[in-house]
């Protein structure tokens, strides 16, 4: 069944959109990532203009994360205080990100920036996570049934001022690192059409030392507010939020997220992280190839007059 999208001005198959939403929704629920880093490139592939894909994806992430957050709030796996600090940084970052996005769009380099950011972030984060989780699994196998005692590393994070106590995470650390993490995630949300979970989750685990249990819920909590803010910014400055596209993606996405959250509960944290790392690396490799290999069409068209 073909459906014409009023803002994107293209006609696409409605079931394709529902299916994409569903698959990405399952992953979103399992890993606590918004799923935007998979959905946004997929939307490019089916012919949605990049600006519309990025803005609409922000809107769709609000919905798919909302049901995830509800599930996590019920299980009390959200650190609301940490979430609020991350959110303050996120809102500032999103505003900066939209400014940068609009500036680069005028220069015709927005696609390059988006792809390069994907390759760099996904490559580094995916690689680190993969190595770490494989080691963790190996360690726990070697140690037999005994669980590895969690070491609290004392790094530079612990020597910064403005310390605050985060009870749910069992941390007493400076607010500066979470603010900065929130800020960079906000920038990514605005320019890449991602929730930013793929960078925030590892940052919370490795930089802040938060327990894996509360990381997923807390990152989803920050993501819904930052992506909601991003949606409003894109809707009012670029007019690129396609409501029909968002609704179709979210119908599939919301159902998928519920299923994914159930699956995630039954899996070990290390296994989850290996899977997520592998997916991140696959998307990274695909995008890197697009930049390195000669494209079939060297020329591209863009709306003029955006100076």
């Amino acid at each position: 069944m073909q459906i014409y999208l009023p803002i994107a001005e293209v006609s696409v198959n409605a079931f394709l959109l529902l299916g994409l939403g569903g698959i990405v929704g399952i992953l979103s629920g399992m890993f606590g990532v918004g799923g935007g880093f998979l959905m946004t490139p997929l939307l490019f592939f089916i012919g949605i203009p990049p600006a519309v894909a990025v803005a609409t994806e922000a809107n769709q992430i609000v919905a798919s994360s909302f049901s995830g957050v509800l599930a996590h709030l019920k299980r009390k796996t959200v650190d609301l205080k940490m979430g609020t600090v991350l959110l303050i940084g996120g809102l500032v970052g999103a505003a900066l990100g939209v400014l940068l996005f609009n500036f680069l769009k005028a220069l015709g380099q927005v696609e390059l920036l988006v792809k390069l950011s994907y390759v760099v972030f996904l490559g580094v984060v995916g690689g680190l996570m993969f190595i770490e989780s494989v080691n963790a699994i190996r360690r726990s196998r070697n140690a037999g049934a005994a669980t590895v005692p969690r070491r609290r590393q004392r790094n530079w994070v612990h020597s910064l001022p403005f310390k605050m106590r985060f009870r749910a995470s069992g941390l007493y650390i400076s607010v500066i690192p979470p603010l900065l993490i929130g800020l960079s995630v906000g920038v990514l949300a605005a320019i890449m059409g991602v929730g930013g979970g793929f960078i925030m989750v590892p940052a919370m685990i490795y930089l802040l030392g938060m327990p894996t249990k509360v990381v997923v819920g807390t990152s989803l909590f920050q993501i819904i507010f930052v992506t909601a803010f991003t949606t409003m910014l894109h809707a009012t400055t670029n007019y690129t939020v396609d409501m029909a596209l968002a609704v179709l993606l979210l119908i599939g996405g919301v159902i998928g997220a519920q299923i994914g959250t159930r699956i995630g509960v039954h899996m070990k944290a290390e296994q989850l992280r290996v899977l997520l790392a592998m997916m991140v690396l696959v998307v990274c490799a695909k995008l890197a190839l697009e930049l390195l290999l000669q494209p079939a069409e060297l020329y591209s068209l863009g709306a003029a007059g955006g100076h």
Binding site: Q2, Y4, I7, V62, S67, Q109, T231, M243, A303
Partner: protein
């Protein structure tokens, strides 16, 4: 069908008195409504040549039909390999290019119309694109306009349909042109040229109105005129769906 034809002949009588031949044109539709399930549209263009005297004996009649969407400026960018990756480098702004352009002819294009008449009436695809000049550092400006035509042709937005018009008895002609699903709104100018001996002897113009309707129209207008309300509505719908599905799952699990 015959009644329909007669109706259009009544509705669309037009004049183009040149050499005593006139075009009488019919369109299968003079408005295209873009609805939620719009999947492209086929426009049937048919017509007849009305003349006072018998047609010239040894000069066959040829017909060219064009459909032209609204013209807008376009920026064409070219990628080059820099620092090991392919990035956009040169950019050329084309002053005006139609968002849709189709040319259908009754014979090989170059054999039925002269260059001067092509230039005068902007008939062929390259002639429908207008750009004044390139900045100094771009030596090969033509490759940019060729790329524009190539990309839009691939997307079905530019169509060059040679021999797609059938002409009967030097009087009746018909063709059909497919409008793709990725259509932009606007007034689509439909032109018919009658040609003899590579010269345009008569021409005629009609307009096809392409508009979004219903929900599509409502959402598009809202997003442009009330972007804040549109954004909030998008979020409200998203959150309602997210919460609704979560609640539905809870009930489902309890049952």
């Amino acid at each position: 069908m015959r009644r329909l034809l007669a109706l259009f002949l009544v509705l669309l009588p037009f004049t183009a008195a040149d050499a005593g031949e006139e075009v009488v044109l019919g369109l299968s539709q003079n408005r295209v409504a873009i609805t939620a399930n719009f999947d492209g549209s086929e426009i049937l263009i048919f017509g007849a040549v009305k003349r006072d005297s018998p047609p010239p004996a040894n000069q066959p009649l040829d017909v060219i039909v064009t459909i032209e969407g609204p013209s807008l400026p376009v920026t064409v960018r070219r990628k080059e390999k820099r620092y090991g990756i392919w990035i956009n480098t040169d950019a050329l702004e084309i002053d005006s290019a139609p968002v849709f352009y189709a040319v259908a002819t009754s014979g090989p294009f170059n054999e039925i119309i002269s260059d001067s008449d092509d230039l005068r009436h902007h008939v062929s695809i390259p002639r429908s694109i207008r750009f004044v000049g390139a900045p100094g550092h771009i030596m090969d400006a033509d490759t940019f306009s060729e790329a524009l035509i190539r990309i839009r042709s691939k997307n079905g937005l530019y169509q060059f349909l040679e021999n797609a018009i059938s002409v009967d008895q030097q009087t009746l002609f018909r063709t059909s042109i497919a409008l793709p699903s990725n259509l932009t709104e606007g007034d689509y100018k439909t032109r018919v040229f009658l040609l003899r001996d590579r010269d345009v002897v008569a021409d005629y113009e009609a307009v096809i109105n392409v508009r979004k309707v219903g929900l599509e129209r409502f959402l598009f207008n809202l997003s442009r005129e009330q972007p804040v309300i549109y954004g909030l509505l998008s979020l409200a719908i998203a959150i309602a769906a997210g919460w609704g599905a979560s609640a539905a799952f809870r009930i489902f699990r309890r049952a």
